[in-house]
Symmetry: D4
Subunit: 239 residues, 8 copies
């Protein structure tokens, strides 16, 4: 069944047939488009990464949510790409000079994939990144022991599943802008991350914002934007 | 265990044992019954399509939600059938003269299967169809660039997942009747399309109606009924 | 606390301080903006209606969801206005020549306010309107008795609360485009209209679309747009 | 790790180690215990059926929710058993003289497994059973054509998925006690049968009761208890 | 705004303007229509009761969900009416000879209004009624003490709020058909009766059916239909 | 409408007409029945308290969820009663010698009513009680400053609304049995306490149990039962 | 009933009996504690504001969610306070030199209270604030007309109810860090702001973070923290 | 992509790279950390068990939620470990002298895995354990037959799926502290254990606390803490 002919070429759009890349986005928002790997074939991921890289040679370009097959295809086809099996990301090219620091804080070891996605994203989007893991609230000495490093960052990403209490505790310790990322870690009445999401939305610590469940990418974009426009701080001796 | 004998033959019903075709529907509603493929065997799909086609030789008959196996069985058994692996549909026969135009608009590439099902259905049900894809709201120039084509249609089907914002934007641009189709594209708090569904039900643009998640078929039926009874428009030069 | 100065005047916008009327909407979509009365003071409703009427003297302008106080204020201040206490609407001015016919069908007497809002809206937006009430599915002879009138309409609005089954029954009787409106009539597990909403979204009759709970206005806008562009039908002898 | 010794033998309980059969139930409630197959191994199903049959030689005993493997194991081990692959049940033994009639009515072909489970259960629990299928509300002539047979039954079981409207329509046609069974047939906003469940709980037809989603068994037990204690009716000439 | 003329008179319908009584229902289903008082004015309730009584002089007619004002209006206008302030019902006229027995069992004192509505309804619909209250599962000796009376009934209505466990316990004691009615008694995670509703739908006792939250009326209709067609039992010496 | 006669007297039950007191409960469970004030008239509360006190003169008896009117009626009629307007409770009589210690810990000042209900209940049920308030996790020094007092208790009740993170923090600090009580304090996505409830059910600290939203009473009963059977601890010097 | 003595004085805490102010928070996080007015008496609000002001004379202190009574009490008792009836806030004292700019963008006039709370909060927490209202997506020219002003801000707060689509559109236009605030504006399937919340969490525009429904305060705190540490921008000529 | 260096060593933490063991927990809370097996490789489970055992040679250490592969790896690598395939646990080492008794009560055979996890956990955490299975409320004689044994325990764990009614019945029989564990046993409207969870949270029996769905571990920890600090009881002759 032949449909009527589709739309013709438009400025600011690169049409690959199965996708139309928004090549104008870097100009418009300061950041290039990203390859969201879910539902795409390994071949499409490779082609999209290559095309984006050709369009933006002076930036790093990113692919997220890659299947194992897509990771292998990228590694085979694009030797310059850096593939992270934990965060399921691939990066091609080098970001411009990094500015500011994002600290990614994760409650438990099961939150590592989301934390890794957030960390990689923030760096691709132009910020230095520090990762602090396994500091859940059931052992407070762990998070209290890194308080100064939290305070020295320009933006915090706090990743937690289950009851999602870590952002409230961190948000009470320091006044750094804090993005909470609920993860789908948990079972039963965690409802795939809903319990953590609700906990974070209702945090008693002021100044906590939240992204979608497992959305390390969105948190990384946001945090990089905050960090890279932050004025240099005098107290960041320890970074 | 033998149950009591089942009901006997009834007028307007064609009994195949595992299904009773409502052969009276074309007379009653102007449209023939359709084969809903989910849960049916490839053999049943083939037989149902063949039977419907024999009953309604002057119409196109449609099967939806076909598994890959069912698609292959239809292609093998019914050489005249047109099978669409993207929309997972099969069509047998030719629709009567097409009247009016339905524009199917999709936000992202992941929404393609639902858009294809809607487009095929609208055409089988008697309308011309135009497809416009990958015009999500995060790059407004894409949708603004097709405004005139939207305005020229007799009915719009707008397909979107995630937050489902596209119908609100389109509904503010033109006054054409608009059916919004939420898709299950998304993750986490998209809850399998619920976020998009709620967004569309609460659209601030007046005159937006909504169908079930991923229900391209229902939107196609409705839009074709609107388009094919629309009076010809003077401004549709570009179609 | 003085904030920075707000935005200046913009074309296509009439700024009243507490609201900015989109005076360009008639040009853009074919329909003027409407006063949504919820949360507005009686004085604001009166001023908005008067301003819209002055901007669009050749059209009828509409206010919906009016409190009793707002209804009384409109009646007192705008003697030409037609106030409907059942549908909680007010209309000022006369719509252009009406085209096509919308049939508004309501399941029970408790659905009357939503049906009235839908009917008034459809007429203000330019369609003839016919209202058929109290034809719930628990007494099928009532809906079967009006089948021909349903079939003669250009668009149907079917209003129902509780289990919301009426659209499925009507949608199986005729092939006219059908918009289902769930109402918040019910108790317990009706969850304020959610049961009816879900029932309508899952209708087994093809070609049913749905609007938000109690959204007679949205259904009226949509139906009028369908009806007024419909070609005259030969079979509508009985209207 | 050895736990303290478990409880010893108790009257009215037959302990098989992995299950304790409530052999007193027939005496207490008039009906023997049933083998719920979900989560049990084929061997356990066979042994439980055999044990129940030995305990209640004068009754039929029933196993439900059998996997294909369990069905095959029962057929191989218990040659007297009647296995139904549609309803996923097995029956061993003969029920006492059947009394009264249960009519099982199903909306669509996809509802067949639940209808079959209900029908088999009602017969094992002592009632005559009549099955009427594919009479969904989108083609009313189908259900209107069997009105007299519905009226002649002592109890009705009405099975439907999607919007679950059929019980409301049937409940408005006849005054026979009616048990509605929502099925998980549907997609998207059907939420695995929740839409149908809510629709049935909110039925506008008086005297409709509801069981859990896909619970043909529960409906069958209840209906049989109603039918077998019903006084013979004078009007049931057609049964 | 004048709408097109409404539908004319139809057989089997008594049109009061604000409502159309289904006077054919008694013929069709064996039971007369009922006045659902929610959302109706006291005057409407009085007129509807009077009209129904005039149409069905040989039956009792019922009004439910009456406000205090409506109860007072009925008592003042219709001296023959029996008004029950606990169940919020009014009854006019006498039911035909009662047949069979319905036992209404309530868990707690807060469930009394729903139990009273169920009891009155069952009697109006033609069954003898026995009421057993305050037999919640937290004091098992209370329900065990009435086991024989439960067993002697033809149909049971079991009313409970909070966790809704009583139907499971009763359903394990006797084999009488059992309708469970969840009530909105509770707080917090009872979600207005949802916890009890879910508990009853998932009852481990076979043969439990459920109606909507607080729907004593629906349970009463159903139970009366079961009881009045039950054959006389030999063991009911104690009734 | 006269129903059949209700049940006669039963041992272990004191029938007041509108309620049947389970006077056997003290014997059976070690604790007397309690007056749940919600939905009861002030006169009923007074009579129930007086009756319970007369039945159990050696114990304290408790009424909860009292309206202001009920509180005043109790104070006027029962001069020996202790009424707490914060926790909305009344106590009549003296508990036996208190054993063990329950520490009630509350996150914020808005949680005070629930904490007070828990504290009063625990004391009536026989435990010493210590109250620690306003130690929310957004200021960790507050909870860290009372760590030794937490450790010295025999059972902890931790009350919190919003995200409900306090039990996780406390549960990581000490190994005392901990009952978490979610409160309805919050707004928006707290959903009346659901966010706190889910947070507590998913606590990453082992050994946290939970009661219903705002259920200070239930927590108090449970904690007293734990505390009063605890063996004296050697380290409780500071209590 | 006398409980055991409560905890004694602690450093960093100012105990008012009904509340314990966290006077250490300014030192710890850079921002003073705030008076959350919900559930507090007018007298408590006045005393808390006065105490916070005395503790932090060099800062502005803020009270939010004030009832009309509390607003009047503050205006009467604290003549230096600035009370905003729209945002329901009161401010006492002057913030230090403002740094950076927060733009608060609201979709509709009904969102004004939440936008006002956000704007006042951001200024009290040390940022310049610009407010842009009534730029909903159904009239795109309104938001496109202010694109440059959006781009010039250091942080954006985007407030919207109903479907909450505005953040996706704004987030596609500029690369400024963006905090989305869902409001409870809407009806039916908006579920008190849930639809907007889900829409924002699933935004297809990268870099959108979200706060609780109606939480203008939280968004203001976060945005001020971002803005006041932002390096001066060269392109902000138009501010 | 190389991130900045991670945090260095900290006291009370044993860093294995993929996890940081909280070796201080035994000191802090009286109980060692536990290996939560979900999402861990068999090799990680073995190493974590071995490390924990080496750190706490005088205690038993526990791993839960083990896959079949992890169970086999533990059995192969750690010959002293006791692996329970029903409860999916492994235990290494011997607990100190057991004190007090926990009774684990399960409603149905399908609840066995959760009951086994609870029983093993309670014993590892230092309590004697008694297991009572298959005593669901639909056959009350089963639970009434073990009443004395329930009364003799120091703490009860009551495990049930479906409607979760067993804790209410047990909580009305004895006054022993009772922890209810909802299981995900059920289908349809059980929603994976939500129905049982809500039922238990709303139990009408006072003093019932609840843990997450299927959380036998949490219940075991809590119950052991209660039991092992309970004073010896005089009435426990039958244990």
């Amino acid at each position: 069944m032949t449909h009527l002919p589709d739309q013709g070429p438009q400025p600011g759009i690169h049409d690959l047939g199965y996708a139309r890349l928004d090549t104008d986005r870097l100009e418009r928002t300061g950041d290039a488009e990203v390859v969201y790997g879910a539902g795409k074939t390994p071949e499409q991921v490779v082609e999209l990464l290559r095309t984006l890289h050709a369009t933006h040679p002076g930036n790093a370009v990113l692919a997220t949510r890659l299947t194992v097959e897509a990771q292998e295809a990228v590694a085979a086809a694009l030797s310059a790409a850096v593939v992270d099996p934990v965060g399921r990301t691939a990066v091609l090219g080098t970001p411009p000079a990094l500015r500011g620091t994002v600290a990614v804080v994760a409650a438990g070891t099961s939150d590592a994939p989301v934390a890794a996605e957030a960390a990689t994203t923030a760096r691709v989007f132009g910020a230095n990144v520090e990762v602090i893991t396994d500091v859940g609230v059931a052992g407070l000495h762990r998070i209290l022991g890194v308080r100064e490093r939290l305070d020295a960052a320009d933006c915090l990403i706090v990743v937690a599943g289950m009851e999602g209490a870590l952002p409230s505790v961190v948000g009470g310790l320091v006044g750094v802008p804090l993005i909470a990322v609920p993860t789908s870690v948990g079972y039963g009445a965690s409802f795939g991350g809903v319990a953590a999401l609700l906990g974070m939305l209702n945090s008693c610590a002021p100044g906590v914002t939240v992204v979608n469940i497992d959305n390390g990418f969105g948190a990384g974009v946001f945090a990089a934007r905050v960090a890279r426009r932050a004025a240099p701080r005098e107290t960041k001796d320890d970074v």
